[in-house]
């Protein structure tokens, strides 16, 4: 049952985009990579614009006007792409924040990514502000005076900045400083902050699906042609600009200066920033018990290291004198307690030591593999009905208890990625007619890769893979969130029918196929 209304809004939006784009291209699943793609558009168009741009107070506006009007087919389009991609990235970043907040992916072990992500937004905004400054039109003048007022409200400057702008005018030296900030200083800081933001993640991808990238690019291009970016009149420091068409994505703070003192604007922006950064502690959620390595059963194969979504596992030289070369070590502060590592461990094989406790190389104290095996055994044995379907779910996708009826039982794991493929075979061997694995919606795993790794393992494309002799026609994967109950029920009914036919075919000695 969904109790979080913010999550409900997010899931509705996600459903809509899944309908339009499918799960592979759903922009909500690629907000981070889409932002990176937009950065590339901004960077390349920016480098192009830098060539004809005249970096002086007297020449800047004229050179931008030349690009916009005389060379509209090249530099003009580049300018529009530069501006609109910059606006688009604010939307993708805000949506990224909203998504992570709505789905609870900002607290617990994820606090670091959240806290380092919030200042990125401000860095982005200041980068946009210096960009607008460089046009040196009336809007730039408005930004210059407003920025100076904001700076002067800090105890460092105490009035000197604004006075410079109104009495001394804008100097070339200061203009070049802004140019340096926009072209080099701020982008470098932003790149560093982005690196910091993703430093606790493994398998970081910065490229969106090609189709989504192309769609976004052509949409930006269409907008650039339909509505080219334009400048205001040249800056004139002895007159107040009359009407300003401000870019609300970047310059929304400045109109506040017309109604509030700069100190109040600082208090508001700082408070909002600190509040956002403090969310992981204001709305805390305790992580589950962290993964534990049992060296006695670990051969140091490194599969858990490769599958861990949060870079919490490292491989190091063996310390216990065993004949293996390596062992793995878990860093509890990075561990998301998802259990994907337990699912990847080749030792998590329920067919081993059937009478004893099943020990594996890396396990979750709150739901050990041995406990999973016991639950499967007991659930399958106790399941009534002609067709027995065991549904494995996870804590963040659809609640599998809602699917329970005669012949269908659900087992909740921490993440579908913690399910060893052999456990599915084990359930079938014990008498289950079919196994359905659900979890978060495809490509939207709470733990990043749980459902993706499961699909690949079952398809035999990632270790540990489902063995070739496993009856794949009796296994189905259907990622689902709580609102998808109807669609998964329909799939389940169809699966039941399919299993019934398989059983009939098997009974009559024929080979069951789809």
């Amino acid at each position: 049952m969904i109790v979080n209304p913010v999550k409900r809004v997010y899931l509705a939006l996600e459903s809509w985009f899944n309908l339009s784009f499918g799960t592979e291209w759903n922009p909500l699943y690629h907000l981070g990579t889409l932002s990176f793609f937009l950065f590339w558009v901004i960077l390349i168009s920016g480098i192009y614009l830098f060539i004809p741009f005249h970096g002086s107070v007297a020449g800047a506006h004229a050179s931008v006007e030349y690009m916009t009007h005389e060379q509209w087919y090249a530099a003009g389009i580049m300018r529009s792409l530069h501006r609109y991609a910059s606006d688009a990235v604010v939307i993708t970043v805000l949506l990224h924040m909203f998504k992570e907040f709505a789905s609870g992916r900002y607290r617990g072990f994820r606090w670091f990514s959240w806290v380092t992500g919030v200042p990125n937004l401000w860095m982005l905004v200041t980068l946009g502000i210096t960009g607008y400054w460089l046009v040196w039109d009336e809007l730039a003048q408005y930004i210059a005076v407003g920025s100076a007022q904001l700076m002067d409200a800090l105890p460092i400057f105490s009035g000197a900045m604004t006075r410079n702008f109104v009495s001394g005018g804008m100097t070339d030296r200061f203009f070049i400083l802004i140019e340096f900030l926009h072209l080099l200083g701020q982008p470098l800081i932003l790149v560093f902050m982005l690196w910091l933001h993703v430093t606790r993640l493994s398998n970081v991808n910065i490229n969106p699906p090609r189709g989504l990238a192309m769609g976004t690019f052509f949409a930006l291009l269409a907008l650039s042609l339909y509505q080219p970016a334009l400048s205001h009149a040249p800056a004139s420091l002895d007159r107040v600009p009359l009407e300003l068409h401000i870019d609300w994505f970047y310059l929304n703070v400045y109109p506040l200066l017309e109604i509030w003192p700069a100190q109040q604007v600082w208090i508001l922006t700082t408070s909002v920033t600190l509040l956002l950064m403090a969310l992981p502690w204001l709305l805390p959620k305790k992580d589950g018990a962290k993964a534990v390595v049992d060296l006695e059963h670990c051969n140091g194969c490194g599969l858990c290291f490769e599958d861990c979504p949060f870079d919490a596992i490292t491989v190091q030289a063996r310390t216990d004198g065993a004949r293996y070369e390596h062992e793995v070590v878990v860093n509890p502060s990075l561990c998301g307690a998802c259990g994907i590592c337990a699912g990847s461990c080749p030792a998590s094989n329920p067919f081993r030591s059937a009478r004893e406790t099943l020990k594996t190389g890396i396990d979750m104290p709150q739901l050990p593999v041995d406990e999973m095996r016991r639950l499967v055994r007991e659930t399958v044995a106790a399941m009534p009905g002609d067709i027995k379907i065991l549904v494995f779910g996870c804590e963040h996708g659809l609640n599998v208890d809602r699917l329970e009826r005669e012949g269908t039982r659900g087992l909740r794991l921490i993440c579908s990625g913690m399910l060893p493929p052999t456990l599915v075979e084990y359930a079938l061997k014990l008498g289950a007619d079919g196994v359905m694995v659900t979890g978060c919606r495809q490509n939207d795993c709470f733990y990043r890769f749980g459902n993706s790794w499961t699909r690949l393992r079952f398809a035999g494309e990632r270790k540990p893979s489902l063995r070739t002799r496993a009856e794949r026609e009796r296994i189905r994967i259907h990622g689902a969130a709580d609102p998808d109950l109807r669609s998964i029920e329909a799939d389940l009914a169809e699966f039941r029918q399919h299993l019934l036919e398989l059983n009939r075919a098997a009974a009559s000695g024929a080979t069951g196929t789809e």
Binding site: F21, T23, Y84, S167, D247, W248
Partner: protein, 174 residues
Amino acid sequence: MAGFDNKPLRFVLQAFNYTVFMALIWYFATSPSINIIADDQAVITIAFSHAGQLREPCRRLSQEELNKLPPNMRKLDDCQRERSPVTIEALLDDQPFYSAALPPPGLFGDGGVDVFHKAKVPAGEHRLSLKMNDSVRIEGFNHQLEQQVTIDHAQILLVGFEANRGFVLSGGEK
């Protein structure tokens, strides 16, 4: 949840989503526009930096006192560092629109004061009065300027101050 199997319909939906995305960008990249000054307004900006006079007058050292000092430190006058606050009052047609008493900044109160004030005023002809006191040892205002000014709509009249010239106006018609 997968998308529609009907590819053309999916492309139509995608085109719709991209259009909404671009429409959002297009609108908020320039709209709503803002007017920061009304049709009949102008701006007077008071902006200058000025160090108040020393709080205490310098004291001339006696020969005896000078002799006690090392040769390289024999300055004739002994001056305290602390400066006077700068008090300023600005009136337009006898109506005050800015008044402040600004203490000297710095650990020892010896810094110059930065004055900045922006006031929106009705455009047109006005009598501008500017008064400033920069010494605690002087009663009343020791710098004054009274002048008839004409400021057009959206024009900025800049009020500065130079130690040797007093108040200086630029912009607007004097």
